[in-house]
């Protein structure tokens, strides 16, 4: 086994290209319920994307001159990136705080985060009117350094690279590239530190995007603290996603996960619930402070005010209490319920800032067209397909190959 062709060692002497070709083929059953639902939507979405580039953004979206950003920004990008926040929180816990307990779920979380960024940045391209100029702020055909979006664009690019580096040891293990793996693992800690710094700034940056829309966002959701709110909520948004995604992965990819990690899963979820509860407490407290300082008591009775109360009490306070209680009673099912409510709350919050509360006073409100919804779903399904493809091939949930732990 220890010959000089390290790339081929784990594939029993096959050439790398033949190996890649065989790996590209689908594995497992094809006619699963998930495939039957997702394939038509993906094809339909592709058709709609063709129409969008042929006839313009207005041909399939309900966007107007007053509401230039809709579902594709408000949900795909702003909400999607919040859910991808689990990657920076977990790498912080495992690599910076050295909480070894969570090591077994780092890879799948980083993969999730990486794919989320790739696809949501991809969704951003659909929303750009002149996407062929997307490279301009990178190559400097106009460094708009005064723009928050400039910062966010650069951060997306750099963070994708950082996450790819964090994930790359898994790719090297899949290819059996021992030397490459050694070099790439050595870069992990640098990528992690860089990645967390970037995340701090662009999670809040997504909120800062809306700071100049001061007169357009409902006063209950607009404050100069939007960036801080977005950052703090990305912590529990990301971790709730980790709990949710982990619970599904442990069922769907049951066979790949070792006995030991199966047993550890509940302990991990339990630990995460405590962190979520703490972060949500901080978030709720911040929201309360902002609300009191905003002096918007009179707005609470309005329909938007009730909507605000629903978000704060039903989708922040309630899941926070659920997290607290289920942490104390070690009730794993209730933790998962809390995670789902929290995720709904994060979706609600991001949409309230970007879509629902944006131009809430307009006579004609923006409601996304069914075509916008289909394209959004197609993007999500494509991401899940890629996710599944990677999980089934690379040592993400499964243990790394034996040679990783072998002494040199």
């Amino acid at each position: 086994m220890n010959n000089s062709y390290q790339i081929t060692t784990s594939q029993d002497g096959k050439s790398i290209w033949r190996f890649l070709v065989t790996e590209l083929k689908p594995k497992g059953k094809f006619l699963t319920p998930f495939n039957l639902i997702s394939i038509p939507i993906m094809i339909l979405g592709l058709g709609l994307i063709v129409i969008r580039f042929w006839k313009g953004i207005g041909s399939i979206t309900n966007l107007t001159q007053e509401i230039p950003w809709g579902l594709w920004i408000g949900f795909d990008v702003v909400t999607g990136v919040a859910f991808a926040g689990g990657a920076y929180v977990l790498t912080f816990m495992v690599y910076i705080l050295n909480m070894r307990k969570y090591h077994s779920i780092v890879r799948v979380t980083v993969l999730n985060g990486f794919l989320a960024y790739v696809f949501y940045a991809g969704a951003l391209l659909l929303d750009l009117g002149r996407p062929w100029h997307v490279i301009n702020p990178i190559i400097g055909y106009g460094f708009g350094t005064s723009s928050v979006l400039f910062l966010v664009a650069w951060h997306f690019l750099l963070y994708m690279i950082a996450e790819l580096i964090e994930f790359s040891p898994a790719i090297a293990e899949w290819l059996g590239a021992r030397k490459a793996r050694k070099i790439l693992s050595g870069m992990t800690i640098a990528a992690v530190i860089f990645g967390i710094t970037l995340s701090t700034l662009h999670q809040s940056g997504l909120g800062a995007l809306y700071l100049m829309a001061k007169d357009k966002i409902h006063p209950l959701w607009y404050s100069e603290f939007i960036p801080i709110m977005f950052f703090v909520s990305s912590i529990f948004a990301g971790l709730s996603m980790v709990i949710f995604e982990g619970s599904i992965s442990h069922k769907v990819f049951f066979k790949q996960i070792s006995e030991k990690n199966h047993k550890a899963q509940n302990g991990i979820i339990h630990g995460l619930s405590k962190i979520c509860a703490g972060a949500m407490f901080a978030y709720f407290f911040l929201q309360l402070l902002v609300f009191i300082h905003g002096q918007h008591w009179n707005l609470l009775g309005t329909p938007m005010g009730l909507w605000y109360l629903l978000e704060m009490l039903g989708f922040v306070l309630l899941p926070m209490i659920l997290y607290f209680v289920s942490y104390r009673t070690n009730n794993i099912t209730m933790i998962k319920v809390a995670a789902v409510i929290t995720m709904l709350g994060v979706i609600l919050n991001r949409l309230n800032v970007t879509v629902i509360g944006f131009r809430w006073d307009m006579a004609v409100r923006y409601v996304p067209s069914w075509m916008e919804l289909v394209v959004t779903m197609a993007v999500i399904f494509t991401e899940i397909w890629i996710f599944r493809w990677v999980i089934n091939r690379m040592p993400v949930l499964s243990d790394p190959p034996a040679w990783v732990n072998e002494p040199e």
Binding site: L97, D127, G129, H133, L149, Y210, M212, K214
Partner: protein, 288 residues
């Protein structure tokens, strides 16, 4: 040197004054880097609502000719094929006409929002758009407090459309098409500073005709277009609650924190990483 409270404030005051005076000297006329924005003063008491400016604007920018409308029509808005509209408002003083277009802010939100510098505040004052740089993200539209930039939603190669104060004409020494052609002298093109002086003179001389407010003098940190009106501006559909300071200032705090975060956070993370390294030995040896 010890610094007590009073001394601190004194120092702060002196520093502030120096900065303020320093700033003034940059903008003072004898300085080399004189920035003197041009603008247009619109006087709603003089406008007869002939909509000639709409036709001149369409001709100057190659837009389709505006459709004829009845005198009191619904309030129209500018769009991707129309950079300016003149609307009729029923007010407390009867029918008043009001022209709308991009306000050409002194510190435009759209320019601060643009990540490719496609939106540009020219030294003369007009805010212009460069199609070679723009990626069509529409962040300018989200940020603009006046909703000025318009996007061609039904084009495969969409452009941002808005009033450019006829920048091409200005470069050749002409005045903007609308101001040049207005038969009622409702539009006056000139240096913003002179326009404010003129507006004050008109208000002073006919105090019963005008309300004592020049819209655009302070709104959104000052705009290139200035408005005089016989009625309060909210009756003409203006947002009178706009902040008096510039909109880009709203994101300054966030953007200024970026370098600090980039220096402090990695250092902090590395420190914590080093400090917690010992935990690894105590914890169970899983892998690596």
């Amino acid at each position: 040197m010890s610094l007590n409270r009073r001394g601190f404030f004194k120092l702060l005051g002196v520093t502030g004054m120096t900065l303020a005076i320093g700033k003034n000297s940059v903008a003072s006329p004898d300085s080399k880097n004189t920035v003197e924005f041009y603008g247009i003063l619109y006087d709603a008491t003089r406008c007869k609502g002939c909509r000639g400016c709409e036709f001149d604007c369409a001709e100057a920018h190659g837009f389709p000719e505006p459709l004829p409308t009845k005198k009191i029509a619904t309030v129209r808005k500018t769009d991707e094929s129309c950079n300016t509209v003149v609307n009729t408002y029923k007010t407390s003083k009867g029918e008043v006409f009001c022209k709308r277009q991009c306000m050409h802010c002194n510190e435009p939100a759209c320019v601060a929002a643009c990540l490719t510098q496609a939106m540009h505040k020219t030294k003369m004052g007009p805010v212009t758009w460069d199609g070679d740089k723009c990626m069509g993200c529409r962040y300018c539209m989200v940020s603009c407090p006046f909703d000025s930039p318009k996007f061609e939603f039904h084009s495969a190669n969409p452009k941002i459309q808005k009033c450019d104060m006829c920048f091409e004409r200005l470069k050749t020494g002409e005045s903007p098409a609308c101001a040049f052609n207005c038969p009622n002298e409702a539009l006056l093109y000139g240096k913003r500073r002179d326009l404010i002086r003129e507006a004050r003179r008109r208000i002073y001389e006919k105090q019963d005709l005008y309300i004592d407010h020049i819209y655009g003098e302070h709104e959104a940190g000052g705009t290139g277009w200035l408005y005089l009106s016989p009625v309060p501006f909210n009756e003409l559909g203006f947002n009178t609650n706009l902040q008096q300071s510039s909109y880009p200032a709203l994101t300054k705090g966030f953007l200024y924190s970026v370098p600090t975060v980039f220096v402090l956070v990695p250092a902090l993370l590395l420190g914590i990483h080093q400090a917690t390294k010992g935990n690894q030995l105590n914890g169970e040896e899983e892998d690596e």
